[in-house]
């Protein structure tokens, strides 16, 4: 869900107030909400006062409403209850977002919930698992009641397990592959190749991609850190090129200070979402934070999160007392 309040605020601040100033007696209280601006006719019907007879330009409102809808389409939400309220508009479409956190903090569940939501709403989603098998990932989804088989059968969701030995550069023209770890970062040949072959592998252009996890990919390059950095840079450029919104998980400490295997990934990523697992006496408190998201305003606060029987739920206004002890 997109925050209605924030849209109304932007609308009011930039467009509504100047008009309001001059026509205060004509329509003293108007609050344009998302549902109104999405359907321009509703704007006019709902506010009959917006009439040229009263000196107010109806077209101006309709144009502004259309502009607003266009702008809204540039953002994506996750469908995770409470999480989208951390953003003013959402995550910019086409972003590459790191999902960082310790073991058992909810990273994979977050990504599964996200693809389940979008696949159920007709978007094409591709989950690339480097850690767990397809069966286990499907079983996790079933445990939360997301009916993964239906989503897979609909053609909107593809879950595929990759082996870390399958990390390669791919030649789109010839179909040849080169094992990424065997290459030198300075090899000019690599510049011609793709770090993955997503569209060819799954037969559709995904709206959402999950890569779980970047940590597993990095382990393939053990002892060849320079090659890994180069590969990761190519990987981010590739995601940018194909235009999908991508979520890449990384394994960190439970209360992380570094959010990715080398630290480079968090600079390359457009966004970083951090999962925490604070220890307080003999219990742990789950929390989440949007550490970085290029191009959008978001809450800069660690907030409470729970993994419930129905999936992840975020509490955007709830302080995390365990975090205060750190």
């Amino acid at each position: 869900m997109i925050q209605l309040g924030s849209i109304t605020n932007i609308y009011n601040r930039h467009y509504y107030q100047p008009i309001y100033k001059y026509h205060i007696n004509v329509f003293p209280k108007i609050h344009l909400k998302e549902k109104h601006i999405k359907r321009k006719e509703v704007v006019v019907n709902r506010f009959p006062q917006l009439d040229t007879d009263n000196g107010i330009d109806k077209k101006r409102y309709v144009n502004l409403a259309e502009k607003k809808v266009k702008k809204l389409k540039k953002f994506v939400t996750t469908g995770i209850p409470g999480f989208d309220d951390l953003f003013k508009q959402g995550i910019p479409k086409g972003s590459a977002v790191l999902i960082a956190g310790g073991a058992g903090s909810g990273k994979t569940n977050f990504c599964l919930q996200l693809v389940a939501h979008h696949a159920a709403h007709g978007k094409k989603c591709f989950f690339m698992g480097f850690e767990e098998s397809e069966e286990r990932l499907i079983s996790h989804m079933e445990d939360f009641g997301w009916d993964p088989q239906k989503l897979i059968d609909s053609g909107n969701l593809k879950i595929k397990r990759f082996l870390t030995s399958e990390i390669y550069y791919y030649n789109k023209k010839s179909g040849d592959t080169i094992e990424a770890m065997m290459t030198k970062e300075a090899d000019p040949l690599i510049m011609e190749l793709e770090p993955l072959a997503i569209a060819d592998d799954i037969g559709f252009k995904p709206d959402f991609i999950v890569l779980d996890s970047l940590t597993s990919v990095s382990s393939t390059f053990k002892g060849k850190e320079q090659s890994y950095r180069f590969y990761v840079e190519r990987l981010f450029r590739y995601f940018e090129k194909i235009g999908s919104t991508t979520f890449l998980t990384t394994e960190t400490e439970q209360t992380p200070k570094v959010y990715s295997p080398t630290g480079v990934e968090e600079f390359l990523a457009d966004g970083v979402i951090v999962f925490y697992n604070f220890r307080k006496e003999n219990i742990r408190e789950s929390a989440i934070e949007v550490l970085k998201m290029r191009g959008v305003k978001h809450k800069r606060k660690i907030v409470a999160m729970k993994i419930t029987d129905n999936g992840i739920k975020v509490y955007p206004d709830q302080d995390v007392f365990g975090a205060m002890e750190m």
């Binding site: 219990i283 709830q318 007392f321």
Partner: protein, 183 residues
Amino acid sequence: MIDKKKLEQELSKLPQDSIVLIETSAEHAFEASMASIKLLADKHDNGIIVSASRPYINLVSNYKKNDIDIKKMFILDCISKKHDAGEESDSVIFLENASSLTDISLSLGERMEIIDGKKFILIDSINTMLIHNKPDIFARFMHDILTKMRLHRIGGMLISLEETTNKDMRAEIAQLCDKIIKL
């Protein structure tokens, strides 16, 4: 024995959404808690009890003895979970322990929204909660809870032991309350 008449008189002077700190001795704490709940339950439609000192089963039997309508009560039990002391129901949830401040705050917030009618909140032992939490963190928690209560216009009581609560902590909590009653 606590002076129940004094408690009743003091409470009758206060608006229903007042937040009161009850200070009492260790031997009278439970009696003070029961007397407070009885008075509040008679005046309100529902009550939410944060129990850090007695398990749910024990509270229920004591409510029955004190003629308190159990149907009006919702209990956040912060001590029974590790002893596997029962199933959650419409009248109780079991939280990990008294150090789960985030969980307590979330559950209280949810119940404030869900439970209809005029309601009160009673935290039965500030001192027990302080055993499990650092004073500065606990002070923030209390501030969070009392702010939520104020925003929802919900009154309530906090039970504290007079002789053992540290001075700074007492001052922090007292300044957030409308009235302090010593029993």
